[in-house]
Symmetry: C2
Subunit: 106 residues, 2 copies
Amino acid sequence: MTDDDRVFKALADPTRRFLLDLLFARDGRTLTELESELDMTRFGVMKHLRVLEEAGLVVPRKSGREKLHFLNPVPIRLIHDRWIDKYTERHVSALVTLKADLEKEP
Amino acid sequence: MTDDDRVFKALADPTRRFLLDLLFARDGRTLTELESELDMTRFGVMKHLRVLEEAGLVVPRKSGREKLHFLNPVPIRLIHDRWIDKYTERHVSALVTLKADLEKEP
DNA sequence: TGGACATGTGACCTTTTGGTCACCTATCCT
DNA sequence: AGGATAGGTGACCAAAAGGTCACATGTCCA
């Protein structure tokens, strides 16, 4: 599996996107804290975090008995630049055509 | 399942992203033509195309006994604007800090 | 008309995914 | 020391995903 594929697959699950949103709002949370935001046992959350780690989207750091989780947005940026971006380009010529058409209206 | 979720899930499979790339290069292809580009039976390709259609990424049009497939990039643009974009913003202040640090070097 | 071609459906199979649980280890704190 | 707290592992299970096949329908064209 390629790096890009790991990232796309990681983003495919709504729970994992929600975890990223939580970390986007505030970084460095523990597993237990993240679990408290979800309707799921700690074990389910652990599995999701592992998928996110393997995609490079979450970077953990041990601190005593706690494991802090940090967001790394770089992989998202990479798939954006390498794949998504080409589909999000505005087709200006079509808009110009539409504008011209609209201007024909009385 | 939400619309966004359908799009993310549709993009999670490399075969489906490849199909979108094919249609990006040239629109309006038939199932048989798409199948010929993949190492998979027609039935597998049909299933992938269905997932893409349900996500709104591919729009079919019947023409005689053929079914032509057209790319619709709008859903990609939507998830980009609604979700991906916030993760791809450049953190300029961090870059400025880095630049200042580097300039301290002899 | 009838054969070749393009596509569709449903059954079926295997692998992956999402989730839980029992049990275990390590750390903190009184 | 020892209980409470934070996290980790492996087995297990149900559901979904990815893929194939036999068979069926509709369309083209010589």
